[in-house]
Symmetry: C2
Subunit: 341 residues, 2 copies
């Protein structure tokens, strides 16, 4: 098969890769009707995060089970399944507490920008849908694998409740789906911070009631104005820089919560500053597995449509253009179609 | 009247001070049957935190209302009242959310190591008891004003629930009362970190099931051993140093919570480290006011006895010895009795 492999900064290639095979008896092989590029793929693509040259890319996936190892019991050939970027056993104490992305046996899933994928710990990782999704639902199912699950975790970690006032920092796919999550949970007011017209539009479509274009302390000042000087109950941090993190913390009212899902790059927090702000913090790699059954139901019921974040669709062999479009912010998120699947 | 005034590092004097008077119409003057020294008084006493020379000391108080300003309606002369170290209006949005120590009108209360005290914002700050407490209950009522309320907030912020596994970092009065709070809330296992025999004994009396004497990474290792490698659901950080904060964070399981109430001194947190640990953080000056009604009831009902942390009782004019005993860790907490009250 052919898939996307990263060799260096901005050097992504579509090339021959070995077909995946069952390695462990707990593995499954799935075929991917669609795949995609994640905002977090841009960290290595831009040379910000180190990686070994020749890394197969892609960690978001859904598709049809082709083959399972002999120990796999919960999914079977032909089913449509979705999993998370971290494989997890779903039985360890951390999984039982709903933090499957800290599973004691967690394994990063990689190489999903391809027609087929090996998924380790298939029983713990994969969730099969009750029915086959319509072709129109498949992009939304794919979004559940990471960006939607991550947006939902951000809202959950930020303690969004019905009636909450919410701020979302970051207008990438995760931030936009954080807006959608907050809306679905019942937030009354959702303030999206964005200075990009197409993203503002999608944020409004997903439920944002206000848009703030200012950033940093000016952005914080604007949030304070919009909330009668109080600050927000819940702030979703979906970027991962020092500026965005402080923007999130300072926009939160005392006793409010920040859910941070942007992977922190060079972020440092001052203990005393945090102490006197009375802000609750929870972040980390989203435990997408916890939310998958609920989110799958919401997609089938037509209550959420996270696939709308895909505003560029390309054949998989044009994956390099998909990265370029996201790198240059011409696309929010690129959907890729393997040929023949 | 005469009270305690701090002039420089380890230079605490018992000397004449002006009698407090009603300054604002929202003030109350209370007479103090007992007063005490806080662990946090040791920061300026040791010269670690800056302060103006000639600072009247003491911020923990309960006592009898002597006089109220013309706008005070909720307490009256003769009542027994308890308040927090931060006066608060109890009506602003932050107070409504239960974070009175971030009240928009908050004012630090000071000078309580004296026979009488002016309390600002009396209506919002003071809680009157329904009945007059017995003399035996008065030390426990005094403890509610700060250390017990702070220990309770630490447990609440750390999300302690019935059945939880809890670790308490710090064996000062707040840490010990964190143990008592966790026990009262229904924690199943409470691991106190202490290497001081008298404090270990009181921790056990308050409900600790295990004592860990190791510190730092060795202490974390011991917590992991005691929890089957999982870590604790809830950790109460009651010190405020970099070492104690990291000890708390590393002792927490993924998805667990740290409640930190030790005022951070030189504490810095790495965003990426915190992210991958999946640890929820909430700290700050305790909103004692929120908990006072409930804690007063628990003292009257004989369910908690936080006054046990006072292991040294001195007349107020020996306040300097009270500080020395705490500074040298000869005493957990010093109760002071003003003469004639």
């Amino acid at each position: 098969m052919q898939g996307a492999v990263l060799y260096g900064a901005r050097d992504i290639r579509f090339e021959d890769r070995a077909d995946p095979t069952i390695v462990e008896p707990t593995d499954a092989i799935i075929s991917l009707p669609v795949t995609c590029i994640c905002g977090s793929d841009l960290w290595p693509y831009r040379g910000v995060s180190p990686f070994p040259a020749g890394t197969p890319m892609g960690h978001e996936y859904c598709g049809y089970v082709e083959e399972v190892g002999r120990d796999v019991t919960s999914v079977k050939r032909g089913q449509f399944v979705i999993g998370s970027f971290f494989a997890s056993d779903n039985t360890c104490p951390h999984c039982h507490h709903g933090f499957q992305s800290s599973c004691v046996h967690k394994t990063a899933v990689g190489g999903a920008q391809a027609p087929r994928l090996r998924v380790p710990l298939a029983d713990g990782t994969l969730v099969a849908t009750r029915d086959m999704p319509d072709v129109d639902h498949i992009p939304s199912m794919l979004a559940l694998s990471d960006v939607m699950g991550t947006g939902w975790f951000a809202a959950d970690a930020a303690n969004v409740k019905p009636g909450s006032t919410v701020v979302v920092v970051g207008d990438g796919a995760v931030g936009l789906l954080g807006v959608l999550s907050a809306k679905q949970i019942g937030a009354e007011r959702i303030i999206a911070m964005s200075r990009h017209e197409a993203r503002q539009k999608l944020a409004r479509e997903f439920g944002a009631t206000d848009i703030v274009t200012e950033r940093g302390d000016e952005g914080v000042e604007r949030i304070k104005q919009l909330t009668n000087g109080v600050g927000a109950d819940s702030v979703l941090e979906c970027v991962g820089t020092q500026e965005s993190m402080m923007q999130a913390i300072k926009s939160t009212r005392p006793g409010g919560s920040v859910g941070y899902v942007g992977v922190p790059h060079g972020v440092t927090l001052d203990g005393a500053d945090l102490f006197f702000r009375h802000v609750r913090l929870l972040g980390g790699p989203a435990p997408v597995r916890r939310y998958l059954p609920q989110l799958i139901d919401l997609v089938f019921a037509g209550k959420i449509n996270p696939g709308k974040v895909f505003d560029l669709v390309l054949p998989l062999d044009q994956v390099a253009e998909g990265y370029r479009a996201m790198d240059e912010r011409r696309a929010i998120k690129t959907l890729l179609r393997p040929s023949g699947n």
